[in-house]
Each structure stands twice: as C-alpha cells, then as structure tokens.
Symmetry: C2
C-alpha cells in the first residue's frame, strides 16, 4: 500500500480491503461479500465492547427469527412503505410454495413488537430493553460498497419499551452516550448527532437522531441512529400496559441500531494511513507481532520468542510470532499494513542482551524495551496509542465544519472543505423537502438536520435556497 | 417446577423452557422460536468457549453470506439431493422476481467451497481452516422442538482443506478432541462417537462420525458430527493446489458442525433436575445471586450487598442482586429453577457478623462463608460443582449401554434401559439398509453405527435381523 488516503480515498478503500484481506468481493451474488478473518476478528471485538456496554445499561440479548411473516410486516403503514421496496421474500420451502411469504428481516421492529404485545401486560413488565446482534438483508438498489452499504450487513439493534415518554427520551440520550463511549472512545470514530428532518426519518419514528461521521475525502457517512418511536408502533401492535388507574395505555418505544459493519468501514477509513490500517489496541486481532531476525541460531531465537509469547499472553494480550519463510522486510510491511499495533524484532543480539526493538504502528517510532519490562511497557504504550489515535481523529474531524449564508458560499465550502456546512434553512418539516431536493439536485448534497448538541436559531437569516425566513440552522453535505 | 425429569421428560422439557423463559414458542411462523435472554446469555458463553478452542486449533473466523445462488447449490449431486427438500428459497426482492433464486443457507459447503477454489492455489495456501458462528435454515417437515429441531438453528460450522488425506483424517480426530474438551468437559454432556452407516452419512461425505448423547428418558440425541469429505467436493468445486511435481491435485476436506442450539438442549436436559436448570458455573448468566432478607434496615443491607457485588465482580464473576418486591422464598425458587449456581442470603444478622449463608444449587447444601473469604470460596466451589456435575452426567450416561444378540434381547434392552444397544449386524454398507429399515419399522429404533473408540468384530455372530453372518457390532436405539 502506498496510496494517498486523503486524495484518492475510494481507491485507498478498495485497495486496503483487498490487501489486508478484509472482504472478498468475488462471492457470486450481487451485493453480498465474504467477510474475511482479519475483519471478522476485529468486528467480533467491536461487537463484544458494544454488547458489554448495552448489558451494563440493562439491555438483555435476544435472538429473534430471521424471517418475518407478511402479516406482521404490514401492521405499521409508514414502516411497510419505507421498507417494502427492499425486502427479500422467501416464497418456497423445498419444492412447495409457502402458504404465506416470509420477509427476510430488513430490521426487526415487526418481528419483535408482535411479541412485545404478549410480554408486556403491567407496569412490572416495563421497562423492557432488549438487543440482538445479527444480520439484516435489504435488496439495495443503490450501488453497494463493502462494509458501507450491502444487501447483507452485520449490526446490533436495540429495542426498548417504557411506560412514559420521558423515559423513552432518556433512552435516546443513553443511546447517544453509548455511541460516544464506544464508537468514539473505543473505535476512535468522531461524529455529530443530528436530528433528521421530517422527510429523512426512520419509517414510523417521531424523531430520528443520527450520528454522522466523515470519510477522509470529507464526505459524510451515517453511523448509528436512535429513534423515538413514541406510540406509533405500540398502537397498531397493541403493546399496552395497565396503568395505576387501571387503564390500558400504549407503551413508549425507542430503537437504536449500531451497525458494527459500517463502523468497521469508518474505523479503517479514519484511523488508517497511506500505508494501511491502524487498528485500536483493544480491537486488534493480534496486538503484538514478533518477527525473528536472521535466525542463524533458530533454536535459541524460537525458544526466546516462545517465552515472550507466553509471558505476554499471560498478561492478557494477543500476540503472534511470524516465523514464516518470508523476509523480515516483507513481514514488517505486511503487519504494518494489517494494522498490528506493535512489532518486536528479535535476533541473536536481542536474545543475548535481553533488550528488544519495539516498533509502534501509530507513530512509526521505535523504542528499546527490556524483556523484564515488556508487559508494563505494552500497557502504557496501548494507552499512549489510544490517546494519539483519538487526537488524530479529532484533528481530522474538527476542521470539517463551515458556515454558509448564500448558495455561493455553500458551494465554495463544499468544494474547499467538504464535511458539514451549516446553513440557515426554511423548515425541517415536510414543506422544507423542496429546498432539500433543490440542494440535492444542484450540489448532490443532503440536509442532515439540526445539530442535536447545539441548539441555535437563525435570527433574521434567509433560507439559502428559497430565500424565505430561516427557522433553523441545518447542516448539509455530500454523502459518501 | 416439580416434574420428574426422568419419568416425564417431554413434559419437563416443555415446562422448563416456559418457566425459565428460555424460548417463546408463540412467534407466528411455524418451526421458528424466539430465543429468550436467559438462554441467549448462556449460549453466548457456549459459543465463546467453542470459538476460543477452535481458534487455539488455528481455525479462523469468517462470515459468509446467508444466501447461496442456485447454481452453487447444484454443483455436488449427493449434496443437493440430500438438502433440496429442505431449502428455503428467496425468489423476490421488493416487487421484482430475482433473476436466480437464492437458497437461504441450510449449511455452507456450497457457499464456501466455491470461494475455496479461488483462495487455494498452492501448498502455502494449505491447510485452510475456517469456521463461522451463524444460523442455518431448513424447511423441516418433521415436528420441531425448541433447541432440538427447528427451521432455524444456531450453530458453528468449521470447514478445512488439506493437501493430504492423512491431515484430513487428523482433523477429524482433532474435531473429536474438541467435542470432548468443550461439550463434555465444559458443558457436561457425555457422548459416544459413532461412525454412521453408509445410508446415514452427510450428503457428500466419505465418512461421517457423529457424537450421540442421550436425553433423560434414555432416547438418543445426535450432537455434533465431523465429516471426512475426502475429495468429493474438491473435484466438482475445482479446489486444487499445485503439488511438488507441478501437478494440480484436489484438496482433502473435512467439516464439523457443533450446533450450540442443540447442545443447549442437552445441557439443560442432562444437567437439570426436577426443580429446574443447573447451569455449569462458567456458562451461567449470573453465577451468584444475592437475596436481601427481611430488609428492615434497607440502607445498611443494600450498602453491604453492593460492596460484595463489587468485590465479586472485580474477581471476574457475574453476580446479580435481586432486590425486587417478591418474597425471599419466591426468589429462592425462581433462581434455583433458573439454575444460578450459588445464592447468598443477606439479612441484618449477616451484615453484623460478616458471615453469610451460601446455598449451592447443584447439591442443595448450604455453607457458611466469611465475607473476607468469599471470592476464594467461590473459586473452589466452582471447581467442586463442575466435578460433581460431570460425575452426575457420567453416572446417568454410563449404564445406558447394553448388548443384545437376539431380537428378543434387543427389545428387552430397549424397553428396560433405553440408550444404546450393541448388536451384531450384517453390514454398514448400503446392503445393510434393509435390516436397518426393518429395525426402524418394528421398534422405531435406528442403527447409529460402529463405535469409533472401540474397534471390535463379532466373530461367528449372526445379524440379529437377517441372521446372516455379522460383520460389525453396531449400536442402535431410539431417537428423541
């Protein structure tokens, strides 16, 4: 690898997937890929961290069927409208037509909420907080991209029910905090939460809040969204509880979808460099690789490398000894490209002196480490690395927001900086969709909505498209 | 729960699934269930232990698509014959017919091996050892049973390719050792590996070796099988490597399918008792439950329980404080039924004395534990528990094998003991299928094959069905 990630991001992304063996695109069904071991090992760690956090916040894991009967699917009108063009239908079992076609889950609301109506009877059944780690399938007509958009993707979906709107709103905030804690702090993916405009909400939601991140060329990529569903599903699905006064009330619901697959795309895009991947220490399939150098006295060296491996594994780290027949130089490049955080080089000299060279992937520097101090050193190097990665990601992200008050300024900002352009805008209700369409047509840019963490109203400003009085500041940009 | 597991196993099994909230059978697609949190939390631990062991043995995780194009599916003839009656077909995307129907994976050979032919070129690409943790779907026409047989089940499938038959045979042995190490040592499920007769092999395999276990009423349940596929798939799928002499040779393959879902059925069946579940310590969602007793001085007690929780969690154990409004007696029963290994009761007296009562689920005994010694005590109690569970499982399993040399003896053994009956049998090649059919028709019993670990030939014995000279000792019994 030696491709400019910033200048030629698409090419870089395609190349790293091939070179680091993350996905194989040659599977013979359009829109489906094979997720290869190096990617799967990393994503498994990503899943674990997210699941742990969800369980800390009292979400319980559940496995729902992958198939949803047509009748469930048609209960909530907006939802079925939003998804029906994308559903894969199972119509046959063996040679026989099924009595009723089964939808291959594009998302699980309609599978789960029918069961919620059986499980929830009284207040003691609430809150109900569940998640599942699974795949969903959508017959995407847009062009697909590995880990970003596909006809099959790997995600987590969390679904909650409460007795009050307030609790549901608090859950939305908790979902945002989890995104911060895991996607940002652990995966080093910066983001901004936007409240999506009316025309871009999740089908069936009252409010949709989506975390948008950026790819290196400045285009926007949507990361997880959390939705206040209100009682929009509870009513048609008849999910009700008996309140204090003995009245049946519909529950208040939320759902949240951290798509690990797509986060993996951002993780590699944001953290990588022109030479390949840089994987956060906690997530790396191997955290340290040992490379034996000039093994004239092979026994002596391999005895030492095995000793080190054992000590490092006992301390809870994942380590690989690469004693394959390739040259050290080839191995250095290979493991750097694959994003292994630390490399230790061991030759006879190192065995004799008990001091090794340790190369750090994230800053390319080398340090000398005594064998006796290795485990402790890895500990603090891991902390240093995480801090440095977050700093680098922040730097990339933080200057990608600009402001425009005219169409000309907008065009200039989009061209020069990319990222998010803050503009005065007429309306995020349905009447604003015309201006949104115009922006899309002219600049291929989308309105991402109002920023959730910064509330501000444009006073006396005009919508940059229609010129009417602006009611909101919204952020717009080009999607990857 | 208070149902005799031995006398009324089917009833017990149905009841425990409902009472312990393991699965909800009310999902509105026939043959599909919702796997509920208590079961999922346990199965996630089962998956982790198995995956760890697979990775120790150099299997790499991979995620293949859930859909397989019809053309792949039809490459190996026996395989397609074996599965075609059970395949769910996806024929539509949105409103449109797909150009080619997609099979919803019933097993992944035909998805994976087409890619193997791309990945394997030379000897350095071998061995190739991969596994995936996933679901498979089969349009079962037999009656389904939660965790035992369903139209969707959760499993691991491991697929390997080697340059020699010897290596493939060794892999089969390694698969058997993993079954012993994880399914027996960790899940406490005893089994015997049988080589299946010709008519009961995996479609496309040279040899099928299957681990059979028993349910409490003495009927047989098949657990994972490992298959020597030989070159039967390599040839039609064109998976070849260049050998030393520059010749293209087909690889030798194996596959192995530890079905976590079905192991969970055996785990609860074998280890449970008339009062409910007993879950091995490593797998229990909560390993310890604390129940506050007569909380007059609630603050004092909850301060102490929180302290204990923290200490126990820091030691790496999973603990739950049940401070719900139910009575202690109700909670005792509830958590016993759910199979939590240890229960600690804490009232004011315990807080003052610093000594607690700890109840052990597996033997029903109670012991006194000092707070300062709690963590260490849990450690050795966990070891004691595992040993006792294995002993109990062995006792149940070991006397379930008998020998019969006539039809009358067979009938008697089947009736009195159930389990496995060892019989002299004419042939495990295809000509034996007639005798097998006769046994099936008369006694609803199946030939499970020759025992793998004990090789013996019946000298001068006659097949108990046809009376011809017996070439094998086979084991037969009734399937659950």
């Amino acid at each position: 690898m030696n491709i400019s990630k910033k200048e030629k991001f698409s090419e870089w992304f395609t190349e790293i997937i091939k070179e680091a063996e993350l996905g194989d695109l040659r599977y013979n069904v359009k829109g489906f890929i094979v997720n290869m071991p190096w990617a799967v090992m990393t994503m498994k760690k990503m899943y674990s961290l997210y699941e742990e956090e969800l369980e800390k916040n009292d979400h319980l894991p559940v496995w729902f069927p992958a198939v949803i009967p047509k009748e469930n699917f048609e209960i909530e009108k907006e939802h079925v409208e939003g998804f029906k063009a994308e559903v894969f239908w199972i119509t046959k079992g063996g040679d026989k037509e099924l009595e009723e076609p089964l939808a291959l889950r594009p998302t699980s609301e309609t599978a789960m909420y029918k069961m919620f109506s059986l499980w929830i009877q009284g207040k003691t059944d609430l809150p109900l907080k569940m998640y599942q780690s699974t795949q969903v399938w959508r017959h995407e007509t847009k062009s697909t991209r590995p880990f970003m958009r596909g006809r099959e993707f790997h995600w987590i979906e969390s679904h909650c029910a409460f007795s009050t709107r307030k609790e549901a709103e608090d859950q939305v905030l908790q979902d945002m905090r989890m995104t911060e804690k895991i996607m940002y702090q652990e995966f080093c993916i910066p983001f901004i939460f936007f409240e999506r405009p009316e025309w871009d909400k999740f089908p069936g939601a009252i409010h949709t809040y989506a975390a948008d991140s950026l790819v290196p060329d400045g285009r926007i990529i949507q990361q997880p969204s959390t939705h206040l569903l209100g009682q929009n599903f509870a009513k048609p699905f008849n999910i009700t509880f008996l309140d204090e006064s003995g009245k049946r009330e519909p529950v208040w619901q939320t759902c949240y979808g951290p798509a690990i697959w797509r986060m993996f795309a951002s993780l590699i895009s944001i953290n990588g460099d022109d030479r390949g991947l840089i994987i956060p220490f906690k997530l790396a399939p191997y955290q340290i690789v040992i490379i034996p150098i000039n093994p004239k006295n092979l026994d002596k060296i391999s005895k030492k490398t095995e000793e080190i491996k054992k000590a490092v594994e006992n301390a809870g780290f994942r380590i690989k000894i690469d004693s394959s027949a390739k040259t050290p130089g080839f191995k250095f490049n290979q493991w750097e490209m694959k994003g292994v955080p630390f490399r230790i080089e061991i030759g006879e000299k190192e065995v004799d002196s008990g001091e090794f060279t340790l190369a750090k992937r994230f800053d390319g520097k080398k340090i000398k480490v005594k064998e006796s101090e290795l485990v402790g050193t890895i500990d603090w190097l891991a902390a240093e690395m995480q801090e440095a990665m977050l700093k680098k990601a922040d730097e990339f992200f933080s200057d990608k927001t600009s402001t425009a008050e005219t169409i000309e300024e907008f065009e200039k900002a989009l061209k020069e900086k990319g990222g998010f352009v803050r503009i005065p805008f007429c309306s995020v209700e349905m009447e604003g969709v015309k201006c949104s369409d115009a922006l899309k047509e002219k600049f291929h840019a989308d309105i991402r909505g109002e920023r959730f963490d910064v509330k501000e109203k444009p006073k006396g400003k005009k919508c940059i498209i229609c010129g009417k009085e602006a009611k909101h500041y919204v952020y717009a940009g080009r999607q990857y």
